[in-house]
């Protein structure tokens, strides 16, 4: 197997693992993303122990309860008197499925500004961010295929109009364009609505680039001999476009998807970071990162950067995937 093919397989399987764990957030996390423990803002991640202070070693990992220091805000120490072994598949708090539930203490600790479990929020936030990326990219690509297909296939004034329009969209720096479109929507909306609107806005903003690419392929693809033969047999335009011409663009479309998805995940994160996307209390990687801008977080609470690490991992994996897919296409087409 070539290096590119191996890269496709590795990045794709890692991405699938990530998506599945985010999808199963309810099962994997100990808490609901909005559940609060008001006594413990910014508590550090709970440490896993295997050995007690006396030297006794346990096979089953355990944790100590964190006790907040009454004298200073945001300082915690471990209460070593009782240990809490971690049990798997315990019937947990209000979840549909029994979660992995560590007695009454959590793996990652209550460690966010409002005392919510960061690990739970990370996975639930991933649901929003990853789903937004996936849906918006599909929408943009769908629009791009329709517009590019029509423009390339029929040519003439239709092509002219669509492509001039696409040029306008491409003439703007993309984030400025996104924000301009975002201005057209109400500022304060509830999270579910915000999510849908965000997907639509991202999809509307991003159609131009895939449309241009698809148009190029259709333009040359409609002159291939099998297409001309089908046309000579009296095939309808719809049939020609759907069955003969557009399938030639499948490879490019797939690669575009791998390029667009991380871009849109990032767009959602950026908008939510600036308070223009999905808002509290629903977690998204963007609004979680917004907290990381505060001075006290920057100085003392490194774990608030976990969403950034998750985000970088996803975009790196997608980058490797897109690159490898592109190389595969080159091999196939040559």
């Amino acid at each position: 197997m070539s290096l590119a093919a191996r890269n496709v397989r590795t990045s794709l399987s890692l991405l699938v693992i990530l998506y599945v764990s985010v999808l199963l957030a309810g099962f994997l996390t100990p808490y609901a993303p909005t559940e609060q423990n008001r006594d413990m803002p910014f508590a550090p991640p709970t440490r896993l122990h295997f050995a007690e202070a006396t030297g006794r070693v346990h096979l089953r990992p355990f944790v100590y309860r964190l006790a907040s220091d009454p004298r200073s805000f945001g300082e915690y120490s471990e209460d070593r008197r009782t240990m809490y072994p971690i049990r798997l598949l315990v019937r947990g708090a209000p979840y549909r499925i029994a979660g992995i539930f560590e007695s009454n203490i959590h793996l990652f600790g209550f460690n966010e500004r409002y005392g919510r479990d960061l690990f739970s929020r990370l996975l639930y936030g991933g649901q929003i961010s990853l789903a937004a990326g996936l849906l918006a990219a599909s929408l943009a690509l769908g629009l791009g295929v329709v517009v590019g297909g029509l423009a390339g296939f029929y040519g003439g004034w239709l092509d002219e109009t669509f492509m001039r329009f696409a040029e306008l969209f491409l003439a703007l720096p993309w984030l400025y364009l996104l924000l301009a479109v975002r201005t057209g929507l109400p500022l304060h909306i509830d999270p579910a609505q915000a999510f849908l609107l965000l997907v639509v806005v991202l999809g509307l903003v991003g159609w131009a680039r895939p449309a241009r690419l698809i148009r190029g392929i259709v333009l040359s693809g409609k002159l291939r001999e099998h297409v001309l033969a089908a046309r000579a047999f009296g095939a309808s335009d719809v049939y020609l476009l759907r069955r003969q011409v557009l399938p030639q663009a499948a490879g490019v479309a797939l690669t575009q998807l791998a390029v667009l998805i991380p871009q849109y995940i990032l767009a959602e994160v950026t908008l939510s970071f600036f308070g223009l996307g999905v808002g509290e209390p629903v977690p998204s990687w963007g609004n979680m990162l917004a907290a990381a801008q505060q001075y006290e977080v920057l100085t003392s609470y490194w774990w608030m950067f976990l969403p950034a690490i998750a985000l970088s991992t996803v975009s790196l994996l997608y980058y490797v995937l897109a690159n490898a897919l592109h190389q595969q296409m080159m091999v196939l087409s040559s």
Binding site: Y176, T183, G184, L185, L317
Partner: protein
């Protein structure tokens, strides 16, 4: 010359198109700056209505657009309610600050990327090239938001660099040299964020286009005649690769401005980005349009510079018209 004129005319058309487009988008917005005022019990509804008429907010969209065009002719670019001043006077200092950040950052990024990419190309397949490829891939995976936050973290933890802003509080008291030093000091973090964001893309392109050129027959002929490798690489090959690289300069400006928006906002650099975000939050629609247009203008200007450089560098473009 005809080539450059055509590009210029095309740019103006795009600018006009973008202005209509952003007008339509912002017109979709529910409410404007005055609708917040309506909620204020201290302001009489008649006053708000009078303001509405005075600023032409009660008119249909095409008329509004004409009014706006009229103010563009006056050089105002519309009126900002939040700042109570013409938009243009707000935009220019901000645009200058954005340029102050992006121009040095781009220049430096190219100055680093060209030798690095050339070196990587000449080391093709060896460990230096692999190291370079690995590093650029890793950097490409880091989104601008994350990189900005990381550098901010670095600044806060080490305390070597200022955490935000463009100048110190005592800026006005400094001499000309001190002012420059202070500015450079504040510029360091946001500029390095932009450089690190730009670098991987540039290095990869420089490497790829040089590898293509190095495979050309003229390179082999030159080598056979005993031309030194370094001279060949940096003088001849680089010149032959100028066309794709200068095209890349034009294309990379859009990404640069987007990245700059994020970096400016995170590091509180008073450029166009933070201004646009504030304007959106305040429903200051003319300011939003102004900022978007201004970013387009910067982009087009950058593209024009790249085109002009391309025109100078590539004799084929000049020969086409003769």
């Amino acid at each position: 010359m005809r080539y450059l004129c055509r590009r210029l005319g095309h740019g103006l058309l795009v600018l006009a198109g973008v202005s209509v487009l952003s007008f339509v988008f912002t017109a979709l917005a529910p409410g404007d700056f005055l609708s917040e005022m309506k909620l204020d019990p201290r302001i009489a509804p008649e006053t708000v209505a009078a303001l509405r008429v005075r600023y032409g907010l009660d008119q249909p969209l095409p008329l509004k657009y004409l009014h706006w065009l009229e103010s563009v002719r006056r050089g105002d670019l519309g009126f900002s309610f939040a700042y109570n001043s013409p938009v243009a006077s707000l935009l220019w200092p901000r645009a200058r600050n954005t340029l102050l950040l992006t121009v040095p950052a781009t220049t430096l990024a190219w100055l680093i990327a060209v030798p690095l990419g050339a070196w990587s190309a000449s080391q093709r397949g060896r460990w230096g090239d692999r190291l370079c490829a690995g590093a650029t891939t890793a950097l490409l995976g880091v989104p601008e938001l994350v990189l900005g936050l990381m550098l901010l973290l670095l600044a806060v933890r080490t305390r070597y660099f200022p955490v935000g802003g463009m100048v110190s509080a005592r800026f006005a008291e400094l001499g000309p040299w001190g002012k420059l030093e202070d500015l450079a000091f504040h510029l360091f973090l946001p500029a390095s964020a932009l450089i690190l964001l730009n670098l991987p893309v540039l290095v990869r392109h420089v490497r790829a286009s040089l590898i293509e050129v190095l495979a050309a027959p003229f390179v082999q002929a030159a080598r056979a005649r005993g031309v030194g490798w370094r001279r060949l690489l940096f003088r001849d090959a680089l010149r032959a690769a100028a066309n794709p690289l200068l095209s890349l300069l034009g294309l990379s400006i859009a990404a640069l401005l987007s990245a700059s928006l994020v970096v400016e906002a995170i590091m509180s650099w008073p450029g166009l980005g933070p201004l646009l975000l504030e304007a959106i939050a305040a429903r200051d629609l003319h300011l939003v349009i102004g900022a978007v247009l201004c970013s387009t203008l910067l982009l087009l200007a950058g593209n024009f510079v790249a085109d002009a450089l391309l025109y100078l560098a590539d004799p084929r473009l000049r020969a086409d018209q003769a």
